[in-house]
């Protein structure tokens, strides 16, 4: 390549180190060549392609990608960052395993050793902890990006499903890892989390039909998960194995599948027009991937230096901290326990969320919007999805920041040292009224938007809704319901009217009946959760519909 190499000579005549020459010698050596396939590097398009194809780590990339795909503002590198975090977690996790023994006598002591006696042990633990939490966030962000650019649509439906599974497993990995330090934070978060499993229908001892199936605390699904009746030695071992071996293996397999499908489904940024310009992956994409990964490592490292992972006193199964909360990404679910019977909040709702997410690509038959951000072309899909995500985080916010001792409502600025009067007594609707209300909500809510054929004038609709709410609030005032509760009514009333009626009415009534019914049911359930929160927080309604024989409390 460089035939005329003039050895650089410094002004005073001494020979300087020639880096280009060294690089050439190294690259052309037999050792280097045996490791990296391909002939002499000439930096031609062919070379760059060969670099991708001939490298086991890079060959999941195509040779060329559309120019839009490498723009930061398209993918934001979110998937890549999630994967990088997974790699950091694997690395730090393996290192931590060298100093950690999963028994209740030793686990906590080993955490102390990591903190005080192991070189860089504290940094490893911090990095592991913060990466895990960051990964939960980034996987969710990645999912949002994919949704907003409609990248789940044909032919990527299946890969979206794999992605949802990966999200679930990310949460599960975080959850199983939460127990391992064996401090008070760990066992009580896990106790709260696993108690929900005890409320599963049929399989849990506290769930509906549980006792019918002969479920007790020592033979139900929670018992299987814990390997005992309480969080103990077996639980620690089980969670350790799940956390370190079983789930990572599963995630690895799913990741391979995920990447392979990305590659086969023509990589990211689906074409807007067939003749779009393409650029070479090496170096254009690879260098950006490197940037994202490096940035990610930098932030995690910095964060781990500045902020220590929490470690409280050693676990004591006899002493419950007040309040005891699940890990933050599950606090949303815990908060739902306030509004619904445990098996609905802890089992039905998560299942519906996971299945609902996986079903999205099969429900959305609108071909528009693939490969670019467009709220205008897909207002229904985008707003509803974002509303769902927002609700999840609002629930987390409430559970994490607004709940104090005895899980009572404390505003974030209020001191927990102040004793609060218990909340006013709650009441439930009579069964017939609740049943009618539920029937009307789901029956009318399902059918009405589809049947109204004429497009509704939004301005008028809002006026009507406002008038109705004002009228209702006047009635409320006369019934002795105080002013401070009315904002709830307005907020939830409007939210339902907009997202549960107007938006579906306008945008999805053209769907086929099957798709329409399934979509609408999901929308109504989501809005229902919101409405129920409003009823509880604003009007102290414990349950709208209750059938105690089956623990069916909604």
């Amino acid at each position: 390549m460089a035939d005329i190499v003039t050895p650089p000579v410094s002004p005073n005549g001494r020979k300087r180190l020639d880096f280009d020459q060294i690089k050439k010698t190294v690259i052309d050596s037999q050792i280097w060549r045996s490791i990296f396939r391909g002939g002499v590097w000439k930096d031609t398009p062919r070379d760059r392609a060969a670099h991708i194809i001939g490298n086991v780590w890079l060959h999941l990339h195509p040779v060329k990608v559309r120019k839009r795909a490498i723009e930061w503002t398209y993918t934001w590198g979110l998937g890549g960052i999630s994967f990088m975090l997974f790699l950091i977690l694997t690395l730090t996790g393996v290192l931590l395993m060298f100093y950690y023994r999963p028994t209740i006598d030793l686990a906590y002591r080993d955490m102390k050793d990591l903190e005080f006696a192991v070189t860089l042990g504290k940094l490893m633990r911090n990095a592991h902890r913060w990466s895990a939490q960051a990964m939960v966030v980034f996987v969710i962000l990645h999912m949002m990006r994919v949704f907003l650019t409609a990248a789940y649509k044909k032919p990527r439906e299946f890969n979206w499903g794999v992605g949802v599974l990966l999200l679930t497993f990310t949460l599960f990995l975080s959850f199983t890892g939460y127990l391992l330090p064996w401090d008070q934070l760990a066992i009580w978060a896990v106790t709260v989390g696993t108690n929900m499993a005890g409320a599963s229908p049929f399989l849990g001892n506290e769930g509906p039909f549980g006792s019918l199936m002969g479920m007790r605390i020592n033979n139900d699904i929670r018992f299987t998960l814990l390997g005992g009746t309480t969080v103990g030695e077996n639980t620690l071992l089980r969670f350790y194995v799940l956390h370190c071996v079983a789930v990572p293996l599963l995630v690895g397999v799913l990741l391979i599948l995920h990447f392979w499908r990305i590659r086969k489904d023509s990589f990211s940024a689906a074409p807007r027009d067939p003749n779009e310009e393409k650029v070479e992956v090496w170096p254009n994409l690879i260098v950006r991937e490197y940037m994202a990964a490096a940035g990610c490592v930098l932030v995690i490292l910095l964060w781990s230096v500045l902020q220590n992972a929490p470690l409280e006193v050693v676990a004591n199964p006899n002493v419950t901290p007040n309040p005891s909360k699940a890990p933050w990404y599950f606090v949303g679910l815990q908060e739902l326990l306030v509004y619904f019977d445990p098996w609905i909040a802890g089992v039905v709702i998560p299942t519906v969320i996971i299945i609902g997410l996986m079903a999205i690509p099969y429900l959305d038959e609108d071909p528009r919007g693939v490969g670019y951000y467009s709220i205008r072309e897909r207002p229904f899909a985008n707003t509803l999805f974002l509303l769902g995500i927002a609700m999840w985080f609002i629930l987390i916010f409430i559970g994490y920041f607004c709940r104090g001792p005895n899980y009572q409502w404390y505003w974030p600025w209020e001191s927990w040292l102040k004793v609060k009067a218990p909340p006013p007594p709650t009441w439930s609707l009579p069964m017939w009224a609740g049943g009618l209300l539920l029937l009307a909500y789901f029956g009318l809510g399902l059918v009405a938007p589809k049947l109204i054929q004429k497009d509704i004038n939004w301005k008028k609709a809002f006026l009507w809704c406002g008038a109705a709410l004002t009228g209702f609030s006047l009635i409320c005032l006369f019934q002795g319901i105080t002013w401070d509760r009315l904002p709830w009514l307005y907020f939830f009333g409007f939210a339902y009217f907009l997202f549960g009626f107007l938006v579906p009415q306008r945008y999805i009534r053209t769907l086929s009946w099957t798709r329409y019914i399934v979509t609408m049911s999901l929308v109504l359930m989501m809005m229902g959760v919101l409405l129920k929160m409003g009823l509880r927080l604003g009007f102290d309604i414990k349950y709208v519909f209750t059938l105690p024989q089956f623990s069916l409390n909604i």
Partner: protein, 184 residues
Amino acid sequence: MSEPTTPTSQPIPVPASKSVPANAAMTRRNFLWLGWSALVVFFTASAAATARFFFPNVIYEPSQKFNAGPAKDYPMGVSLKWQNEQRVWIERNEKGFTVFWARCTHLGCTPNWFADQNRFRCPCHGSNFNIEGDVIAGPAPKPLYRCAVEIASTGDLIIDKAILENRPGFRDKSPFFAQYQATV
């Protein structure tokens, strides 16, 4: 399962050029069926076995079931005999026995029994429970749990803390209530 194979079991004219016996196709198909079903059954069975595998047959926890001694030795009212050891209270009335799990449903402290006030009072956060275990004051969200109790043929009380109930209508019946009338 044999349905799909039935048509083939009838004699089908086979081209004479093939030297295979007439029922060979049938046997092969049958065999295939058998093979596939064996595989499916194997997978189902191993899945079930794996699920079963995750239920420990022995656990190193104190037994949930214990013998609380002869029923006739218990006086009327609430006995605190097993409070420290097994964390239960045994209540006897004219009709029989009820056993409460001595764990406040609020934060798991152990309440105390106040006979003069006929109530359990939790020292931690002031929850009060009446003799039915229902909350009459304080922050506890649920009534006290009752344990399953039976009177063995020997006349001993056998208490199982694994089986708990606190819903009215369920908790007053067997196995959470053991009928017992003192024989004079």
